[in-house]
Amino acid sequence: MTGSDLIGMMILAAGLFAIGVFGVLARRGIMFQLIALEVALSGPALGFVAAGAYHADPQGQGMFILVLTLAAAEVAVGLALFLRIRRTAGSDDSDIISGMKG
């Protein structure tokens, strides 16, 4: 794992993160925003694996697993909220639920 490979992997991780952020900004659907969040979280996960490999240090992979589990927990809460919002607000569009302004 040479320095330039590391830079390449890091750029890929940053790319994934950027795609995730763009996904949240572009689409109004709550389900789609949650999916975009997952993609965003996978970016740093890849980064940790690459950095761990570069430094030949198992901690990277440890962090990867930690990131995955907590991402799953977050999505679980997200889906629960998605169901509850669909029942009360009657739609899964995130722009509708913007009652509080100013």
């Binding site: 969040l37 965003a40 740093p44 950095a51 761990g52 962090m63 930690l66 927990a73 009360t88």
Partner: protein, 453 residues
């Protein structure tokens, strides 16, 4: 596991057990039992920490450091959460609130002691997820909206934070704060993202958008947790990074200074004509995070002492104000406050004193807090920041004045039911603490001196 290591970790263990117990008790017994269990857990954890004050630091490896700062953080989290528990309204269908509250305390405690990226991320996620649930606690339309927004934004912020840590890890090859010394491009970019992630939790501008909605829609105790407990934990993490990690200086200090200045101006400006008390308090927490960020950005030798003192003075004021806001019903406005002194003298005086302290007027703790802030800025000769702080404080003075004078003016309108005894106890405690720190700040200064190396 030597006895010292176990004693160091015992508060976290106790909190975890209390959380599980509170969750188990919900289906079995009434909500009050769960509240009692949570309260007992918090009190026990706080007691355990206070016992170990002054004891030598137990070696716990990289993940968790057991120094004075961590103990101060844990004790602060437990006591503040206990305060928030007192005015937690339990008349709502979902009964898991006490459990979630203890989980937030647990997350804050882990953050306080975090010395490694893993515990940092774990702590942040525990706090965030519990807060999401607490915001949606009332299951009202606005509650769900606030929770969902917080979820999406904290997801983004956490991924930014993780990417930053990954970049620093790639540069320095270490994940514990002590090892983070590097001046390369990756480290600089990593620090920037780390700072962004933490700034979101710390509700600094421009990452502050979630705070006003959270304060308006969620129950007052959830707002207290977000405004006081989680903010203090993140502040202690920033302080530890400032003390131990050697991240690239320009990004760190001027980044924090810019964010701090922005949040001071935005927080005070947006709160200028807010009619609602909780939303105004939301914006004022943004401003106060700005003040703390400026203290950290100055990097003066007494910055650490200033941060802890400011947090110490900030807690009773914010808890007092939020407790009164909870007592006055869903979202009290300036109109509801008129003539409060006649109907409920204790609430009126508590609210006024808390707002006086937040505004930084004399005879209240906030005055000495502002003193530290001015001293730190003047010590490093940061005249521009000083000007911004004075401008922010002046703006802030306007909206605080509107709210802390309202109870004395005009006629009172409705007859709300009297406050339960324990809430009145909490308010009295907050009033005493505010006046004590205002008149005899030496008490808090010695406590803070104890916590710092």
């Amino acid at each position: 596991m030597t006895a010292a290591q176990f004693a160091a970790l015992s508060p976290l263990v106790v909190l975890a057990i209390a959380a599980v117990a509170a969750m188990m008790l919900v289906p079995l017994a009434r909500i009050e039992a769960a509240q009692a269990a949570a309260g007992a857990g918090l009190a026990l954890a706080a007691g355990l920490v206070l016992l170990r004050v002054g004891a030598p630091a137990a070696p716990l490896g990289a993940l968790f450091t057991d120094d004075g700062l961590a103990r101060f953080g844990i004790a602060y989290a437990c006591l503040a959460s206990l305060g928030a528990l007192i005015f937690l309204r339990t008349g709502v269908p979902a009964k898991e609130a006490p459990a979630l509250l203890v989980l937030v305390a647990l997350g804050a405690a882990t953050l306080a002691g975090a010395g490694h990226a893993a515990t940092l991320f774990l702590g942040i996620e525990i706090v965030s997820l519990s807060l999401i649930a607490l915001f949606a606690f009332r299951l009202s339309r606005q509650g769900l909206e606030a929770a969902y927004k917080f979820l999406v934004m904290s997801g983004l912020a956490s991924s930014a934070l993780l990417l930053g840590v990954a970049l620093i890890y790639a540069e320095t090859g270490a994940l514990d704060f002590v090892g983070w010394t590097g001046h390369g491009a990756l480290a600089a970019l990593g620090t920037a993202l780390l700072l962004a992630g933490l700034a979101f939790k710390f509700s600094l501008a421009p990452f502050h958008m979630w705070t006003p909605d959270a304060f308006e829609a969620s129950p007052a105790s959830a707002a207290a947790l977000a405004g006081v407990v989680s903010k203090a934990a993140v502040a202690i993490v920033l302080l530890r990074l400032f003390l131990t990690a050697h991240l690239p200086e320009p990004v760190w200090s001027s980044g924090l200074a810019a964010l701090g200045a922005a949040s001071v101006l935005v927080g005070n400006l947006l709160a200028l004509r807010q009619p609602q008390l909780p939303r105004m308090l939301g914006y004022s927490t943004i401003a106060h995070s700005g003040y703390i960020a400026l203290i950290l950005a100055s990097g003066a030798p007494r910055a650490a002492e200033a941060v802890l003192f400011y947090l110490g003075v900030y807690a009773p004021a914010m808890l007092g104000a939020l407790c009164v806001s909870a007592a006055l019903g869903r979202a009290p406005t300036l109109y509801d406050l008129h003539g409060l002194i006649k109907r409920r003298p204790l609430e009126a005086i508590a609210l006024s004193l808390s707002l006086l302290s937040l505004a930084g007027l004399p005879a209240a703790g906030g005055f000495i807090g502002k003193l530290y802030l001015l001293h730190v800025l003047v010590d490093r000769g940061l005249w521009l920041l000083l000007a911004i702080v004075v401008a922010g404080a002046s703006l802030g003075f306007f909206y605080y004045a509107r709210f802390f004078t309202a109870p004395f003016l005009g006629q009172s309108h409705d007859e709300a039911e009297p406050l339960p005894r324990v809430d009145q106890g909490l308010l009295a405690l907050c009033v005493i603490l505010i006046v004590l720190f205002g008149v005899a700040p030496v008490v808090l200064i010695d406590v803070v001196r104890l916590a710092l190396p």
